[in-house]
Subunit: 361 residues, 2 copies
Amino acid sequence: NPVDATTPRIGLLVGDGIGHEIVPAAQRTVDAAMSAVGAPEVQWVELPVGYDAIAEHGDPLPASTLDALDGLDAWVLGPHDSAGYPAQFRGRLTPGGTIRKRFDLFANIRPAKAFAGVYATAPEMDLVIVRENTEGFYADRNMFTGSGEFMPTPDVAMAVGVVTRRACERIAHTAFRLAQGRRRRVTVVHKANVLSLTTGLFRDVCVEVGAQYPDVEIRTEHVDAMAAHLVRRGADFDVVVTENMFGDILSDLSGELAGSLGLAASLNSSETRAMAQAAHGAAPDIAGRNRANPTALMLSAAMLLDWMSERRTDAVLGLAADRIRLGVTGTLAAGVATADLGGLASTAEFTETVGARILRR
Amino acid sequence: NPVDATTPRIGLLVGDGIGHEIVPAAQRTVDAAMSAVGAPEVQWVELPVGYDAIAEHGDPLPASTLDALDGLDAWVLGPHDSAGYPAQFRGRLTPGGTIRKRFDLFANIRPAKAFAGVYATAPEMDLVIVRENTEGFYADRNMFTGSGEFMPTPDVAMAVGVVTRRACERIAHTAFRLAQGRRRRVTVVHKANVLSLTTGLFRDVCVEVGAQYPDVEIRTEHVDAMAAHLVRRGADFDVVVTENMFGDILSDLSGELAGSLGLAASLNSSETRAMAQAAHGAAPDIAGRNRANPTALMLSAAMLLDWMSERRTDAVLGLAADRIRLGVTGTLAAGVATADLGGLASTAEFTETVGARILRR
Ligand SMILES: CC(C)[C@H](C(=O)O)[C@@H](O)C(=O)O
Ligand SMILES: CC(C)[C@H](C(=O)O)[C@@H](O)C(=O)O
């Protein structure tokens, strides 16, 4: 295995709320894992986003941050509290949405799998939601210029959902390729009994693409029925591919069924770039109290290292990713957990335990 | 209590698939309950819809059926299998959607409560989803003429979501009034961090209307977080008000968490008309095998009788509704259940047991 000795550079966008705690925690965990496997030290590139960026640059997502991201292929985005930004920044695409759209990070990969030591409603669940990340019912990102949401009168608001064949094709390929390395089953989630043209196009293109993967079994489900199936027989699903909004809802649902949204990792990626981002929000109510659970972002960072490993054919990054996963699952299995899981560990204590475990093995 | 001796007339639309079994089952149950409480016999008005209507009238929802509904204020709609209709009827608003829109049945009321004798993931759940039923992301019903879905090119499909202040106001009043007779808590579900204008309008109007109900506590939640909350702490919610598509997804989810989608009743109503309709579909895979669970439609019919009772200030119809609920819950508590719940009863046996229980008490 060729080990590329070039220093890996990773952007670090702290964001808001608990971002100030969980982003440094994820960073320390990556550093520990890289050192444990003898990989070169990561060069972190800190970039402002959110309240800090408003204070420094008058914008939650300054042009300087976007320009710097342009020169990177991998970064970690902390949660942002866009609903709380001053009025002039509201009604705009959120920082996360802007970055996804700008860098065409079309695939949002969200695994949901139970952890030993964490109570799960669906302990047998082991699935991955592959969420289309650039269009669909997320009208705020649907227009080439401006937003697909508008108000023709003060009493009427409209949102234009868009589904394109191209976006369906590429997300379908992502899903089928992923399934080939897993249990070879893809479930396409749509709502074609009601939205026959948009979600019907999504479903039909996915089924078409699926024909190119004869080793993968393909099923289709309506989104409402799918929510019920996930509760009743979540273990039956392997890879679930769906449009942006359905993916948002079903991934929070699956994450919670598998244990907790606080554990739900996610990677946003294109062929050439990837962004680690937890599936949860900024939780301003518990921010600054050393209570936040950094697990989701640590596991998202591991997904980022896997992606970098594949892209650079640099196996050592994948070993570091494995170390993070082992460190996190071992810590949880040992009963060390933050308050949201009923545990007693602070964010700092949990992070330290994970780090020690990573270095010990 | 004034007992209106006028014969109640109720439309009966059998629909497709298991409709042929569960609609007659619901009908028999209503007949038993009316007789048990000494109410006048229902005059049932059978109207074709679905495959039968295609065969007889060349249309899944013939004008003659719509005209007849015009003369009624209450009816029972069986499930329809619109996805299976011949090509020329696909891409059209479904029969159920057409009826909801045509008669402006703006409120879709969907209770989710666990039943003794039925395993539930969320045994403490007791909530009601109040789903806006005429607009929102259901683009197929958003245009005054035609559909809000269209394809500008063969590779691009668009769907126009619409939220109007008027529709938000009336569904909010429905929710707050309902909450006043319950635990006085309303949760408004939106996605305003992404769809700030449309779902933001929905949220803001609901909060405005809520100010007129100072005895009712109001909270707001993002739809993705709400899916997770329902899993983690479903018992905390009382009345949940949301737009059409979110209501569709969250009601299937809640129904399953409370036991099974096969038990999930629903009423579609305006001030002047109401339609009982189960929250589940036509299940063509088990149709004609005497296996379907008629519970959801029986309980939907009980909701219809309650609605008629209130509208006509005719208490006896409410007593009949109570009898149906007691008959159904007693039967399930006694361990008599259809195969979907792991029981041994056929549709006919289950219906007979419910009927006997209703007449016995
Ligand atoms: C806040 C964020 C993690 C969330 C998500 O990706 O689920 C949101 O951006 C969205 O897309 O609805
Ligand atoms: C099939 C039917 C029961 C379903 C529903 O009301 O949930 C559908 O009509 C919808 O609106 O998505």
